[in-house]
């Protein structure tokens, strides 16, 4: 009876079941199958993250591709003290921020943004803030996020939208958890202020709601 010496599908099944950390250990040893599995496993979450930072699907995909190339090239720099997700997010986040900076340099005109905002404003006429669709919310966030610093924006996205813990966010952004909380507080305050300044119609409903809550 013949022996199975090598089977790609068998290897794939094996990699399916290993943890992210073991996958990265295998990649450090130069295992291409493990690297392929990492791409399969992490493309979704990394694209999600990059998309939230840069706001464009194609650009997010470019960032993820470069992230994986960087992961392979810097695989020996992965340290055991890192959480695999944190390490990957950190690489992708830095690339996304670099991309945003270079894009800001290229795009000085605000007209496309204004046009988009007009569309958003038209579509949200006479609706409660809490009733906006997520696409509209994303449009508003893009506008308001320009008032945030890079770190405030990152912290808000990682903590608020991605739901990571303060410790994880601190490791990705490269600061202390207490600083993450400060950035988050400042981001919330600025977003709230800008939201009420640029969309004053919502100020009434929020105040009314607050009063109603206070009266209960």
């Amino acid at each position: 009876m013949p022996f199975l010496v090598h089977s790609k599908s068998r290897d794939r099944i094996k990699w399916d079941k290993v943890s992210d950390r073991d996958l990265l250990r295998a990649i450090q040893a130069g295992d291409e199958e493990a690297f392929d599995q990492l791409i399969q496993r992490k493309t979704g979450p990394l694209m999600q993250l990059a998309y939230r930072i840069v706001g464009d699907r194609a650009e997010a995909q470019d960032i993820v591709q470069v992230t994986f190339v960087r992961v392979w090239e810097k695989r020996h720099a992965f340290a055991e003290r890192w959480s695999p997700n944190t390490w990957l997010y950190r690489i992708a986040t830095n690339l996304a921020i670099d991309h945003l900076r270079s894009r800001r340099g290229r795009e000085r005109s605000t007209e496309p943004v204004r046009h988009h905002l007009r569309q958003v404003a038209d579509s949200r006429n006479r609706r409660q803030l809490s009733e906006l669709h997520s696409r509209e919310v994303a449009g508003i966030f893009e506008r308001l996020a320009s008032c945030l610093t890079e770190k405030q924006r990152l912290v808000f996205l990682l903590r608020g939208a991605e739901g990571l813990s303060s410790q994880e966010v601190a490791e990705i952004v490269g600061c202390r958890p207490s600083t993450v909380r400060n950035h988050l507080f400042a981001a919330r305050k600025k977003l709230r202020g800008e939201l009420l300044r640029l969309y004053p119609e919502y100020a009434v409903s929020v105040t009314a709601d607050d009063d109603a809550e206070g009266g209960r």
């Binding site: 997010a60 190339v69 809490s130 997520s134 996205l157």
Partner: protein, 173 residues
């Protein structure tokens, strides 16, 4: 997650509370589905609105595209490294030594300066019919004809040997 659980979790703002990632996800899902809780949460902190940024749908085709692009980029990097790798110092020294030895060993060898049609000057070494390096002119004529103000000239003359080196001073470090 129920409405009561959510309101107990975050009386002031979901963003301010230190929820575990799993709890955070459940809270966000509940807000997406429950208009009343969403209204209350946004009223307490409008920034909570941005918990519900749209999710990107990543398909198997996206993963395949990323995989092939990463493969292509890695191959390109390897190729780039191979073609741009400078000659090692050892090889450069060996090549220089071999050239110098050839010039020293072959009788009557000397590089000559010539002027090209565009007025630029250069040095050439001719190979005679027998395959030996041979000079077109005598070294002394090279020095006489050289009119570059920024050149240093070195000449080494032995019995059957003439070696002339012309160094452009503008290239000095």
């Amino acid at each position: 997650m129920t409405c009561a659980e959510l309101r107990q979790l975050a009386p002031d703002s979901l963003l301010a509370s230190e929820l575990e990632p799993v709890e955070h996800r459940r809270a966000a899902e509940h807000l997406r589905e429950c208009p009343e809780c969403r209204r209350r949460a946004v009223a307490a902190d409008p920034a909570v609105l941005f918990l519900d940024l749209p999710l990107l749908e990543v398909t198997a085709a996206d993963v395949t595209a990323v995989r092939s692009a990463v493969g292509a980029m890695r191959r390109a990097r390897v190729l780039e490294n191979e073609t741009s790798r400078p000659l090692s110092r050892w090889w450069r020294h060996a090549a220089a030594a071999a050239l110098l030895a050839a010039l020293l060993l072959v009788p009557g060898t000397a590089p000559v300066e010539h002027e090209a049609g565009d007025g630029s000057r250069g040095i050439e070494t001719l190979i005679d019919e027998g395959g030996f390096l041979a000079s077109a002119t005598e070294p002394s004529s090279i020095i006489e004809n050289l009119n570059r103000p920024q050149a240093r000239i070195y000449q080494l003359t032995e019995e059957d040997l003439s070696l002339v080196m012309i160094v452009d001073e503008s290239l000095d470090l």
